[in-house]
């Protein structure tokens, strides 16, 4: 199998699993327990926290483990919006559903929401943000990098504008963290969501970075875990895995970016050369090293994926969360693409485990598949 859906989820790195194993076997203590077994679990969590914090450029006591990236988004957005004085909140039109649906929920509950548009490459214009800010704006949340088209936003600029208006700034960094340099201090964000399973860590563990002093309500009520701010017996093995995955991701990142981008660029060039009537979605430079998103005229995404799957190629058509949904991608629509094109995009997301041979193989399989589906399509001109 050729796995090129690393934006949906990544394989758990064997070295990460190794570090998790003690906590799946003999080290089963509850970190809140006072005895030795509990204290060891607690120490392991604190070590993982320090590791994630160091990669984020944060203090350890600003890093809170959650049960997923989505939970981090829900906590940040609902918690910060409810703690804000104003009832106007701003986000972008191309956020992940974990952010977008929180905003929609808040919109139904008395908040006034502005969805910033993006240009045809998927970039938020800082001037649009400036223009959207009102005296009663209480929260701005704009994703660091998009999960479908890989566009990287000018976060430090956007955060600066937010702070000029004394408005807290959150960013969904689930796709950015561990893939491109992402330093909360350099960027100046007040809160950031990340998720372990996007960078070789386990599924079911996320982090919300909360800058000290940021006003945010509680999301998960209960026990006193995570400095009393996120209840639940800790997923010790998962947290330990996240800590190690973050450290591994940071290690030699520049080299990995080079390698992965070269796979990406070769794939893009080959496809655009060999297949007519297709276009690259997103920005040509401001994009995640592993992300490719290409629309093919006249064909629909799911059929493409199923035929690729039959050739042993695992790719995606945008966000994994919405497969099974009938709606076209809200991200592609925001770029201004017509509906039928928004249904037909292919997302290929590379990791450092992929090779140039795989790139060539995917192109080789893709060409006849696209041709065949076009032959089948009543839209083909």
């Amino acid at each position: 199998m050729i796995y090129v859906d690393n934006a949906a989820t990544t394989a758990l790195k064997p070295e990460v699993l190794d570090k998790m194993m003690p906590y799946l076997t003999s080290q089963y203590g509850n970190p809140s327990s006072i005895y030795d077994l509990g204290r060891q679990a607690k120490a392991a969590i604190e070590q993982a926290r320090a590791s994630v914090a160091s990669v984020l450029g944060a203090n350890a006591n600003e890093v809170y483990f959650t049960g997923s990236g989505s939970e981090a988004d829900n906590w940040a957005i609902k918690g910060m919006a409810h703690a804000a004085k104003g009832k106007h909140i701003i986000t972008s039109a191309i956020e992940h559903h974990a952010v977008l649906h929180c905003f929609e929920y808040l919109a139904k509950n008395g908040f006034d929401v502005t969805y910033l548009p993006v240009d045809s490459h998927g970039i938020v214009n800082p001037d649009d943000l400036k223009a959207a800010i009102k005296p009663e704006t209480g929260l701005i949340s704009i994703m660091a990098a998009n999960n479908e088209i890989g566009t990287i936003q000018p976060i430090s600029q956007l955060a600066k504008i937010a702070h000029e208006g004394k408005i807290p700034f959150h960013t969904d960094a689930v796709q950015a963290f561990g893939h491109i340099p992402f330093n909360v201090s350099d960027l100046g964000v007040d809160a950031a969501s990340v998720s372990a399973h996007k960078l070789g860590g386990p599924k079911g563990v996320g982090v919300l970075y909360i800058k000290r002093g940021t006003r945010i309500g509680q999301f998960m009520h209960g026990g006193a875990q995570e400095y009393g701010r996120r209840a639940s017996t800790e997923n010790v093995a998962g947290i330990v895995g996240f800590g190690h995955a973050a450290a591994l991701a940071a290690d030699g990142m520049e080299e990995k970016i080079k390698k992965v981008s070269s796979l990406r660029d070769s794939f893009i060039t080959q496809v655009l050369n060999e297949i007519p009537k297709c276009r690259l979605n997103g920005h040509s430079k401001q994009r995640l090293p592993g992300n490719v998103n290409i629309s093919f005229d006249y064909i629909e995404g799911e059929s493409l994926l199923l035929l690729l799957d039959m050739k042993g190629i695992a790719a995606s058509s945008g966000s994994a969360c919405t497969s099974g949904s009938l709606d076209p991608s809200h991200v592609l629509l925001a770029l201004g693409l017509p509906h039928e094109t928004a249904h037909g995009s292919l997302r290929v997301s590379f990791s450092e485990n992929n090779t140039m041979q795989e790139v060539d193989k995917i192109v080789k399989e893709l060409v006849p598949i696209v041709a065949r589906l076009r032959e089948m399509s009543p839209l083909t001109e």
């Binding site: 629909e300 799911e302 059929s303 199923l306 099974g324 009938l326 039928e340 249904h343 089948m376 009543p378």
Partner: protein
């Protein structure tokens, strides 16, 4: 979302895919917004569907239901073809995931609308025979 083996079979090797040059009935249903469009060509002689072919833009289920629905009406009389229900298509495919049921509805409608076209071409009002199509234009919501 899991497709049955039968669905995968019809998706991977669809029957009756293509156009009929001298078709005397053509129907098209679905819309671009929803991401599923089925176009059906028929060659009807003596009230019998001698040949039928389809072209479909859509997901795996859309292609599989097109394949199965055309299979089910091929060689049948118009009357028999009009009795085809989406349920029969689903059953023949050994089930469809709930979110994909609308594809079978689309397939049923595609057959009906093609037969309607056959009547129209002969100056016969198809409505009393075929009924009103549930199929809708470009503005209808995608969920049924």
């Amino acid at each position: 979302m899991l497709y049955s083996e039968k669905v995968m079979d019809h998706f991977a090797n669809p029957h009756n895919m293509g156009e009929i040059e001298d078709a005397n009935a053509i129907g098209e249903v679905g819309n671009k917004k929803c991401g599923d469009i089925m176009k059906i060509y028929m060659k009807i002689e003596d009230d019998i569907i001698k040949d039928v072919k389809f072209k479909t833009f859509g997901c795996g289920a859309a292609i599989a239901t097109s394949s199965m629905a055309t299979d089910l009406v091929k060689g049948k009389t118009i009357k028999e073809a009009l009795e085809l229900t989406n349920k029969a298509v689903v059953e023949a495919l050994e089930g469809l995931p709930p979110v994909k049921m609308h594809c079978s509805v689309l397939a049923e409608e595609a057959i009906k609308s093609t037969i309607a076209d056959y009547y129209k071409r002969q100056g016969i009002d198809p409505e009393p025979i075929v009924g009103t199509s549930k199929s809708c234009g470009d503005d209808c919501p995608c969920d049924e």
